[in-house]
Amino acid sequence: MYSRRVTNSGAPITPDPATRSGLPAARLREIYRLMALARALDERAWILNRSGRVHFVISAQGHEGAEAGICAALTPGRDWLLPYYRSMAAVLAFGMTPREVMLQQFGRADDPGSGGRQMPAHYGGAAYRIFSSSSPVGTQALHAAGIALASKLRGESQVAAVMMGEGASNQGDVHEALNFAAIHRLPMVLLVENNGYAISVPAEKQVAVRDLAVRAAGYNMPGVIVDGTDVLGCYLAMRDAVARALAGDGPTFIEAKVTRLTGHSSDDQQTKYRTEEDLAAGRGRDPLPAFRDELRAAGLLDDAAEAAIAAEVRGLVDEATDFAEAAADPDPGTLTRHVYAEPG
């Protein structure tokens, strides 16, 4: 249903991306731009880390296609995002700026999610309905169910979209959240970004099923498998899930098969536990060139447009890096603020 409509050689199969998705050409280019921006910010973070300017990077490279496609079916400002540490593209889609991403990367006072308190990629943004995220994995599934419960009880038409890796999806909290959301037919969508590894542990040692989405049957909800390199396939799956959620038909479990192009984090060396063949296969499933080629093959992106996007992205990342690096650190005098609500 959501299978890829373009061959590996890039030769298009009708219908073209605009017809298939129903999205105008400008919107498709915007999705590509978002992916390119997420990638460039991520790559810059690694450079900053390896040059000793930021302490830590946890990378989203390879996950951008699934997230950009999924978020294209959501409505920032209306819907809620429960991100995880590979949700760079998603938080950008919800309105976070490159400056804000870099402020968190540097742990600066003006980091909007945490004021420099959280590790990089532990996103949050009240202004964007991006709920604050933590490091224990899977906990956010229950927060998504709670947010969706409140939407339902308050009569708000909104969706809670929660993202996590396949490793996190084994947590009991995820089971408890899916069970509760299904019982109450809550407007929630779970996206599991299955990159095949929980740090170093391969999928076959994490789960006894090939496809995590089959677990959805146990909760009496649809389970959808999408190719995370097929951006529009992800979009179409999410479009259906959002429609279901808003119609009161309950949650959907979407599993996107993605690739992790880097180590788990800046403190991980994945060549220690992955073969060169495995890594090469992963590089072959990079969603960014795949989507670019798809748009180019359909005549929706040309050299000039691609170059313009690349130049704009480079400028944004440079500017955001300079801005965040020059920004003020948190005041140590604020260390014990906001433990409890402050008067006034």
């Binding site: 945490s114 004021g115 532990h122 229950l142 409140a150 019982i183």
Partner: protein, 327 residues
């Protein structure tokens, strides 16, 4: 004023807050038609319906985690954990999430949830229906821990907890549910969090305690009064944030401090009170700060003779007061 049992006061507090604020919901195991295993929520489902009184699956982490999310999106959840003994599956949600959401978001998100749980021994509940869990939560910045001892305080503190912008663990000693009665005003009132109260004034010994042990301490104080020992009883009511000023003022007056709780002694809340008194009122002390607390067993055993041996009693408190007063 009407006389209410402890559990009636809690039930009225829930009902009144649900009437006052349509965003207040109750969720937990058996809280709906049944009204809770102790009937704390009895009648709420009939008045407020399925949407606001939610019977959950047997999933404590879900109860806490869904409450956190619902609070982020405008609701004021009051979660019931059926027994405090079963709260441990929710510890990650309570400690890693609820307690830290405000801090980690630099004040941009809050977590206005209340988690109620019956705790404590003395009802033949054995290892898993008797535990005291307050020390685990009192350790965590970002949480508030409330333990009322009277129907008046139970209702007034519960209202304050529900209206509070931060997560509150509200612990109810189950032995008090129907054995403790007291006057409760009909109208609107609240009791502020983080304020201790001096329940009985005295000059020789200060007993610092909370919950059911307040009643036992008052009983003990009567027993030793005839022996010329005037005991002051401080009811903490909220153990975090702690009202240190009330504790210290009392100890500076009496010079002697006994801390009583049913929870385990080692690493228990009494250690925190003892350290506070030692650090801040050392010059006033003329006896060792003393703890009377649960024995060194992981929980309360079932057989009556074993449970009786485990429990703090008024006479045990009286003995500890006499020993301390003799210094």
């Amino acid at each position: 004023m009407a006389v209410r049992t402890f559990i009636e006061a809690i039930r009225e507090g829930l009902r009144d807050e649900m009437r006052r604020d349509a965003m207040v919901i109750v969720l937990g195991e058996d809280v709906g038609k049944k009204g809770g295993v102790f009937f704390a929520t009895d009648g709420l489902w009939a008045e407020f319906g399925d949407d606001r009184v939610i019977d959950t699956p047997l999933t404590e982490s879900m109860i806490a985690g869904v409450s956190i999310g619902a609070a982020a999106n405008g609701l004021r959840p009051v979660a019931e954990i059926q027994f405090a003994d079963f709260i441990f599956p929710a510890m990650n949600q309570i400690i890693s999430e609820a307690a830290r959401i405000r801090y980690r978001s630099n004040g941009t998100f809050g977590c206005p949830i209340t988690i109620r749980a019956p705790f404590g021994a003395g009802v033949h509940g054995a290892l898993y229906h008797s535990q005291s869990v307050e020390a685990f939560f009192a350790h965590v910045p970002g949480l508030k821990v409330v333990i009322p001892s009277t129907p008046y305080d139970a209702k007034g503190l519960l209202r304050s907890a529900i209206r509070d912008p931060d997560p509150v663990i509200y612990l109810e000693h189950k032995k008090m549910y129907r054995s403790v009665r007291g006057e409760v005003p009909d109208g609107e009132y609240t009791v502020p969090l983080s304020r201790a109260t001096v329940t009985r004034e005295g000059s020789r010994v200060t007993v610092v305690t909370y919950g059911l042990m307040v009643h036992y301490a008052l009983d003990a104080a009567e027993r030793v009064a005839g022996e010329g020992i005037e005991t002051e009883v401080v009811d903490l009511r909220t153990i975090r944030p702690l009202d240190a000023a009330t504790v210290l003022a009392s100890v500076r007056k009496t010079g002697k401090c006994l801390v009583v709780h049913e929870d385990n002694r080692f690493g228990g809340f009494g250690a925190e009170v003892a350290a506070l008194v030692a650090e801040e009122a050392f010059d006033y002390l003329d006896g060792p700060v003393t703890r009377l607390a649960g024995p060194e067993s992981p929980a309360t055993p079932y057989a009556s003779v074993l449970e009786d041996a485990f429990l703090i009693t008024p006479e045990k408190i009286a003995t500890a007061i006499r020993t301390l007063a003799a210094y």
